[in-house]
């Protein structure tokens, strides 16, 4: 249904519609644009213009460009609309991420995973606009002042005379209102919330638990065929020849498709497509020659070209380090990691007669529309992308690339095609989370105070989110002939403003640039220099991108400094922090955990098992959520195994929209962080990636002892809400590493903390 016909439909029975056509979209993103942000919005005000429609039966239909990915956005956004309109959540119907029906709100990405960040200035503002308009209509109809009216469950009542009442449906019935979004409509404050702030149960939970929920994997359209892809056996290999006769005799095979180095097969049935993809003979040339994994981190330091940038540079760091009573240094290593979604990605495309429809699990329907249009040579208006949920993605998994796969295959056969990637397809060529090498140096004065902090990092990058115009950023677009974004040389220049979006600066520096100090800490001598260098593998945002890696290094290193001066790790952090919200979460986590205040490591206790506790904290992206986590571990010295017994997480994301959803995110983020800290690493040989299934890519399963995750929720009303999807995961590796140090006196500086690495470190007494 087109936007216009939908409006006609609603107006046929009467409706009140709030549009942004005359107001245009309002600050679609809560933050400025940067390399890790969602792309700028490309709203065409003539094409789509409604945020909210209230129908004559009182139901509220809201349109959003932010999608449910498993993180609870459907429920939280429904709460947001229900709150502003004073209706029960059940009366709200949320239409998510459909390019024919919803506004362009870029990408639904975790780093801004707060409904208020997402829709504070548009969806909720539209609901507030509607509420004010309805109050005005009711005042006229009831003959009372608007200030005399209250709303409960979509019924407006005069306070002075309770017999005077009218429902939204009665106000709307038979009439048509089309209102521009009012930027001055008054939003409810967190103190007034009745629907937000409550532990509303996930609206999709029952459907999921009973196997009724329709994922993209379940989409079937008439005449649909099944496709599989054939990826290069070596990274970078190109197609010399495809021998169609190797599969053309197989039952059900419809077509072998080649486009540049993209190869796929289409068959009548999924099993036929899977077999044909396995048997198709493709002659490949070149590729491989991957750097030995053992030498990988060392090579990053010398890779060219290098894009260099300071986050902050007080220009006195070398001098202060010379003056310091002592200087400590350490290098931290973080591997490439995979999104490793539970389900290998899937999409359905129907391309025919110059038009394309996609059922896609993408986080970015409009950018995917543009990417598909570029691949197929169609105008974007001819492409309709319907978000259909896939498996949880945690960032740029293969959702976009499989959408391109389906589009290319459907385009070739002129019939609808469903593409299911294999586990290996996805593990081999998804856009991995970044590897990092981080050198840290701290100068400490005679009383143990940090004088200067020096950070230098190297991280490899190739591609990113495809955005609106770079389909080559993911594997299918690249194979089909589009270029990925590559690192361009850049010399580190003057810092103009301090921003800590990917947390390269530790929380303990002052972040002073031009007299403004935006850091969370007190250390005035500060230098933070990062080198982005070329990657052999495609890379992209994976939950808390860069923040996880940087925070592992910062929060491990502050612990090393505390140990160096024999200070308690909590007290030492607090001594160098100035941000009150960060101080609060550290204090609360320590209190709730019953923190044993003393320096680390713990006085040595004999025996095969050692126990310890560690803490780590972060102001996520500088100011987008605050978290501190205490981990309590046991280390089996002989086997090198770490068992986390307990996590205590203190969390401040401003006013809490849904405490139940927040706890679920904190628990999941923390345990996923534990899996990434203890097991997950992309591996390769000289030809290709070798972590290709769940036997070779080590996600923690249910066999490990699941620790308690105790959440301390700090509900800070009166400040803007911040993200909550990526905060908890950011500190986990450091908290565990610090606890291992506390238990054993041994510092593990390389993620993941595998039993082998722990045994080696214990034997070598890595620390000092």
């Amino acid at each position: 249904m087109s936007a216009f016909s939908r409006r006609e439909f609603l107006q046929a029975t009467g409706a009140l519609i709030v549009t942004f056509s005359s107001a245009s979209i309002l600050e679609p993103l809560a933050f400025g644009q940067g390399p890790f942000d969602t792309h700028a919005s490309h709203v065409d005000p003539h094409q789509l213009d409604s945020w909210i429609a209230i129908a004559a039966d009182g139901t509220v239909t809201a349109h959003t460009g932010k999608c449910e990915l498993g993180q609870g956005m459907l429920t939280a956004q429904s709460q947001l609309v229900a709150e502003e309109l004073s209706v029960p959540v059940a009366r709200v119907r949320l239409i998510q991420c459909d390019t024919d029906l919803c506004p362009d709100q870029g990408t639904t990405s975790g780093s801004q995973s707060s409904p208020v960040n997402f829709n504070d200035r548009n969806l909720a503002q539209a609901a507030a606009t509607a509420r004010e308009a309805l109050l005005g209509l009711a005042a006229t109809k009831l003959g009372v002042a608007a200030t005399d009216l209250t709303i409960t469950d979509g019924t407006i009542t005069a306070t002075s005379d309770k017999t005077k009442r009218v429902t939204y449906g009665e106000l709307v019935a038979g009439r048509k209102f089309s209102l521009p979004l009012s930027t001055t409509a008054k939003r409810k404050t967190a103190g007034e919330w009745k629907v937000l702030g409550k532990p509303v149960m996930r609206l999709d939970m029952a459907a999921m638990a009973t196997g009724q929920f329709e994922y993209v994997h379940n989409v079937q359209v008439p005449g649909m065929l099944h496709g599989r892809v054939v990826r290069p056996p070596r990274l970078g290999a190109t197609v010399v020849a495809v021998d169609e006769s190797s599969v053309s005799h197989m039952p059900g095979v419809v077509r072998v498709v080649r486009r540049g180095n993209f190869v796929g097969v289409v068959a009548e049935r999924q099993w036929q497509a899977a077999q044909a993809a396995q048997r198709l003979k493709v002659q490949w040339s070149g590729g491989g020659n991957l750097p030995a994994q053992g030498e990988f981190y060392g090579r990053l330091r010398t890779m060219k070209p290098s894009r260099d940038a300071f986050a902050v540079n007080s220009k006195d760091v070398d001098e202060k380090l010379r003056q310091a009573a002592s200087v400590i240094k350490a290098t931290y290593l973080y591997p490439y990691q995979a999104h490793a979604s539970m389900g290998a990605s899937c999409a359905v495309a129907d391309v025919d007669d110059g038009k394309a429809t996609l059922w896609s699990p993408t986080q970015s329907v409009y950018p995917t529309r543009s990417g598909v249009a570029m691949l197929l040579g169609l105008p974007p208006e001819s492409v309709h992308v319907i978000f259909t949920r896939g498996s949880g993605c945690y960032g740029l998994n293969a959702a976009d690339t499989v959408s391109y796969d389906a589009a290319l295959l459907s385009h070739a056969v002129g019939r609808p095609v469903r593409v299911q990637l294999t586990r290996e397809d996805e593990f081999r060529s998804e856009s991995y989370g970044y590897a990092y090498v981080i050198d840290q140096r701290i100068g400490i004065d005679h009383d143990g105070t940090i004088l200067a902090w020096d950070y230098e990092a190297w991280w490899p990058s190739l591609g990113f989110r495809p955005g609106y115009d770079k389909p080559g950023n993911v594997i299918t677009g690249f194979l089909a002939g589009f270029e990925p974004e590559r690192v361009a040389a850049q010399t580190a220049g003057e810092v103009v403003t301090f921003q800590n979006r990917i947390n390269p600066a530790p929380s303990y520096v002052s972040g002073c640039v031009g007299g403004n100090c935006g850091g969370a800490g007190k250390v005035r001598s500060e230098r933070v220099l990062a080198h982005t260098v070329p990657s052999s593998f495609l890379t992209g945002p994976l939950r808390a991108p860069n923040r996880v890696q940087n925070t592992f290094a910062h929060e491990s290193f502050i612990d090393e400094a505390a140990a160096h001066v024999k200070a308690d790790p909590v007290a030492y952090r607090l001594r160098h922090l100035k941000d009150e919200r960060l101080i609060e979460v550290v204090t609360q986590a320590a209190k709730a955990a019953g923190w044993d205040a003393r320096p680390s490591p713990k006085p040595t206790v004999g025996g095969g098992s050692a126990s310890g506790r560690g803490i780590a904290c972060v102001a996520y992206s500088g100011d987008n959520g605050y978290v501190a986590t205490v981990a309590e571990v046991e280390v089996d010295r002989a086997r090198g195994q770490v068992r986390v017994k307990r996590f205590v997480v203190a969390h401040d994301c401003g006013p809490i929209s849904n405490p139940e959803g927040l706890k679920n995110q904190i628990e999941g983020g923390t345990l996923q962080g534990m899996s990434r800290a203890l097991g997950e690493e992309v591996t390769w040989d000289d030809q290709n990636v070798t972590s290709v299934d769940w036997g070779t890519y080590h996600s923690l399963g249910f066999e490990f002892e699941v620790p308690a995750v105790e959440s301390v929720l700090i509900n800070r009303i009166g400040v803007p809400a911040t993200g909550a999807g990526e905060t908890a995961i950011t500190v986990v590796a450091a908290a565990i590493g610090n606890a291992i140090f506390d238990a054993t006196g041994t510092r593990i500086r390389e993620v993941p903390f595998t039993p082998q690495r722990i045994k080696t470190a214990l034997a070598a007494k890595t620390y000092l």
């Binding site: 009973t210 196997g211 329709e214 994922y215 999924q270 539970m342 949880g392 628990e667 996923q672 399963g701």
Partner: protein
């Protein structure tokens, strides 16, 4: 191709397919069931789990030809949104999912366990679920839901 009759969630279905076809493809593509899902296709993650004769199997690596006459139960065979099975109700009450893609593995392993062992220890549950994954890491809630189900079933 051959005609194969399967009993799924109490209903008989006859399909005409290559008997080597993984059961999962028949359940999802032919019978349009949404419970069992393609996770890895390798029998490693559990997303495709179904119950056959009281035991869990991975339908992605089970040829449909071996399922002639078998009684197969999928996640949707336990209960419905209006009348959820007590295990499903426990997962709803504990809000024990995020993306929900792993639920066939987690819930059906749990059901098979509790049916066979009404009083499972934490270790028993860990052992029973050792072959399934949840990548959103909703483990704490899932374990709570399973224990709640076992407790309420006994009561």
């Amino acid at each position: 191709m051959s005609r194969i009759t399967l009993t799924v969630n109490g209903h008989a279905h006859t399909v005409d397919v290559d008997p080597a076809t993984p059961l999962l493809y028949v359940l999802s593509d032919d019978l349009q069931l949404r419970g069992p899902k393609f996770g890895c296709g390798l029998g490693q993650c559990g997303a495709c789990t179904v119950i056959v004769q009281g035991r869990t199997i991975r339908s992605c690596v089970t040829p449909v030809g071996t399922m002639k006459g078998a009684e197969i139960t999928t996640l949707e065979g336990l209960g419905s949104i209006d009348r959820p099975h007590p295990l499903q109700q426990a997962f709803i009450d504990e809000q024990a999912a995020q993306c929900g893609f792993c639920l066939s593995g987690v819930m059906l392993e749990a059901k098979a366990l509790v049916d066979a062992n009404p009083n499972p220890s934490d270790g028993d549950i860990q052992q029973a679920l050792s072959g399934v994954l949840c990548r959103c890491f909703v483990h704490t809630r899932m374990l709570r839901a399973i224990k709640r189900y076992a407790r309420e079933k006994k009561a």
